[in-house]
Symmetry: C2
Subunit: 212 residues, 2 copies
Amino acid sequence: MNELSTEDRIKQAAKALFQEKGYSGTRTRDIAERSGINLALLNYYFRSKQKLFELVMLETIQQFFGTLPQYLNNPETSLDEKIQLLSRRYIDFLKTEPDLPLFILSEIRHNASGLIEKMNLNEVVFKSVLAKQYAEAMGRTEVDTKEIYMLIINPLSLIIFPFVARPMVMALTGLDQNGFDQMMEQRKTLIPIWNRNMLNSDLNTTSSNTTI
Amino acid sequence: MNELSTEDRIKQAAKALFQEKGYSGTRTRDIAERSGINLALLNYYFRSKQKLFELVMLETIQQFFGTLPQYLNNPETSLDEKIQLLSRRYIDFLKTEPDLPLFILSEIRHNASGLIEKMNLNEVVFKSVLAKQYAEAMGRTEVDTKEIYMLIINPLSLIIFPFVARPMVMALTGLDQNGFDQMMEQRKTLIPIWNRNMLNSDLNTTSSNTTI
DNA sequence: AAAGAATTTAAACATATGATTAAAATATCT
DNA sequence: AGATATTTTAATCATATGTTTAAATTCTTT
């Protein structure tokens, strides 16, 4: 009853291997071995390595970006609470899938079919409750692009970059894997504080004392 | 007199292609075509695709990390001036080599030979003038690891991540390539301001009003 | 100019890789 | 239980890929 179907076993193995080695570096024979299947089954179930890859990519992109709207759009949390939830949940998620962000960022960079352009993420962002909350705090109805840097890009930079650049971060800090994990735990609470202070620099610039 | 040697032409083509397609996705025939040489010359000059790759990697890693010490160690600039210089220079550099960070981060993640572990980057960081300046401002002789997050990891996150995640950032902000470039120009001055405010959150925590 | 060294060329090689094929095995339906 | 559909298997195929080889060409030295 707990047995995965052959199709799912292939997909799981492919997802892991594509993340580890990239598309070109992953052979169909690697996928067959890891999923414990006969090589020809990959073509039977998915028709080609390329088709399998596209399917895995779609699912993985959905996994990475798909939860973003819910963090930005909960009307019952404040702006700060949203950044707190985003930090905590994304870090928890990335700790379970440490290879995923690098894989996604690498593939969307080289992928000519524009998968994420089709997701209308900028609408999600500009029309989010988070953006509205910030605009209201500034006494306006809309945020501008520069404000999106602080509201979205900077938190995501602080959350995701250490995962993408883990060997580099470990080399710079001298932390081992365990230390790195602890660092990311600490950043769950630190990132919202830092971000609040970055937002405050904009508030100070506009001489507003509004508390969000 | 301006003629590049055959060896250099191969290296340049290889560097560009490895960044675009990765190691496995780049064929020796691609490199030969792009450098305008006969295929066998790759083996004549570099013995193998693997050896060529290792050489290109070494040079590229040096290019990416090699300038870091000079930004952290100039005794004639304040802490804030160092972050300003780091932001400006790294952003300028990355605008000329937009594919480089993703390539480096991807390869050091999968590279078992531990190239960057041998660089003793954490010594560079912990013993830097920057770290000393911060410790002095805190009335101590040394910084701890958490402080390195703010002094080094956070600025690097804010600087490098948008380049690594360019399609994602463009999708979230709705910016085109031109807009993205302008955004990075703005971040040259914004990142030091933001970082100063993050550091201030630590200063406030320790109830110190010291100005650095 | 001739000899020797270095570079370049085109073809061939040995192996790898994604895909196909046909038969065998298993599952499902009547 | 037999017929049919689906899944699996092992071998084979067609092409790709990194590398080698030997000859030709160019460069350097005497």
